[in-house]
């Protein structure tokens, strides 16, 4: 067991390291203005630990049971990994993906070989170890490349693609120090404070404050909220919004998120630095960052079903 651990541990570490390098690029790419990229890397990050867990499991299984189990599990891993890589590749853009591709290939080779030799138990183990060692070396190479991306400057040798890529990103980071940090945090929204008022009403306490943060007319947000929630409500004296019906903070947050997506962030560059103007019945979103201007959906409450007691309505109208 100890031996196994000794063999497997470094690879695990290496794996992590390898991923880190790819992540940096992802992050840098994300900083280019993709606000949504946040989702994918975390996805990948979430699936990676799992994968490692599975690897650990495999080690145990290796000792306890027959090889067959391993055989079954491995392809799973490959799929998981591929899925994770694809995820991050999609968002990371071309360059970010390239390196990861390499990583995927390493693992894939390993899996393929795994398959072909799965019948010979002892030999396979050795081969596996060798392969692991190989991949480790590869990973190490990559590390070195990443760390000394400008090593080739003084030497005769040709630069590699990765080196150039890293150099480009380093320069970008140097020239715009706020780029990585500034855009990634995108929108730090304060969460809506939602409090129940009795059994039938909900208070959205910091409604006006959030309107100010979003630079939107309270009426506009109010219209949207009420239309989406299919209810009625109004702003009271303490500038809090009282909504009819019971709503949780999470639900209000969901609606707010949709509002921000449609009416606050630029549809082209996703910058929140925008102005909403009304122009001949239509609302236009003018971006202060990229200058794009596009119309946004008008707020309509649409069909409203009768939810109050019909008898009460009849009594009122009659």
């Amino acid at each position: 067991m100890a031996e196994e651990d000794a063999i497997f541990d470094p690879t695990l570490k290496k794996k992590k390291k390898k991923k880190k390098t790819t992540f940096d690029i992802d992050a840098a790419l994300a900083a280019e203005g993709n606000a949504d990229t946040d989702g994918a890397p975390t996805n990948a990050a979430e699936s990676e630990p799992k994968e490692e867990d599975q690897d650990d499991g495999n080690v145990d299984i290796d000792l306890d049971f027959t090889k067959k189990k391993k055989k079954k599990k491995k392809p799973f891993n490959a799929e998981d990994l591929d899925a994770a890589l694809n995820d991050s590749k999609e968002d990371g853009g071309g360059e970010g993906g390239n390196q990861e591709d390499g990583a995927a290939d390493d693992n894939f080779d390993l899996d393929l070989l795994d398959f072909s030799k799965s019948k010979k138990k002892k030999k396979k183990k050795k081969d596996l170890d060798e392969l692991m060692a190989e991949t480790e070396e590869k990973a190490e190479d990559k590390e070195n490349v990443d760390e000394n991306s400008t090593l080739w400057v003084g030497s005769d040798r040709d630069y590699t693609y990765d080196e150039l890529l890293n150099r480009a990103f380093e320069i970008m980071r140097d020239k715009n120090p706020d780029m990585a940090a500034g855009k990634k945090q995108k929108f730090v929204m304060r969460p809506p404070q939602v409090v129940k008022i009795g059994a039938k009403k909900t208070s959205f306490a910091n409604f006006t404050e959030i309107c100010k943060m979003l630079h939107r007319q309270p009426k506009h947000l109010l219209d949207f909220l009420l239309a989406e929630l299919g209810t009625s409500g109004s702003v009271d004296g303490n500038s809090q919004l009282i909504i009819k019906g019971r709503f949780q903070q999470k639900q209000i947050e969901n609606v707010l998120r949709r509002y921000i997506k449609e009416y606050v962030t630029c549809h082209t560059c996703r910058s929140p630095d925008t102005i909403l103007q009304k122009d001949t019945r239509l609302f236009f979103l003018q971006c202060e960052t990229c200058g794009s201007r596009c119309s946004v959906a008008s707020i309509k409450s649409g069909f409203q079903a009768v939810t109050s007691k019909r008898a009460a309505i009849r009594a009122k109208t009659a």
Partner: protein
């Protein structure tokens, strides 16, 4: 005396009065409304009038095990109304039945 040909004709005159009829925007709006207590109601507005909504509601009621009805609204046309939060169900069902494409569905609510 006015000469007909010299009268200015505004081709957009009729467009300015009513662009807010929801039936024409091609979207199927799926909304949720709270009733008393924890009860909710799902409405589906904007399904093409070519479809027989009565048949649809019958199928939905059976499929989702809920009650439902069709309401003929003067402005929004025929609207499907189902008891409970059937937003997920109705989205899947409409796409599966080929009555609406996923990008036509607009889900509102929390």
């Amino acid at each position: 005396m006015s000469i007909q040909n010299l009268n200015t004709f505004d081709p957009f005159a009729d467009a300015s009065k009513g662009a807010d009829d929801d039936v024409q925007d091609g979207l199927v709006h799926i909304r949720i409304q709270q009733r008393n207590g924890r009860k909710t109601l799902t409405t589906v507005q904007g399904l093409s009038s070519e479809y027989d909504l009565k048949k649809i509601v019958r199928a939905c009621k059976k499929e989702f095990a809920c009650n439902g009805t069709v309401i003929d609204h003067p402005e929004y046309g025929e609207v499907l109304q189902l008891q409970g939060d059937q937003r997920e169900n109705i989205c899947q069902w409409l796409t599966k039945a080929g009555l609406a494409k996923p990008d036509q569905l607009k889900v509102h609510g929390f």
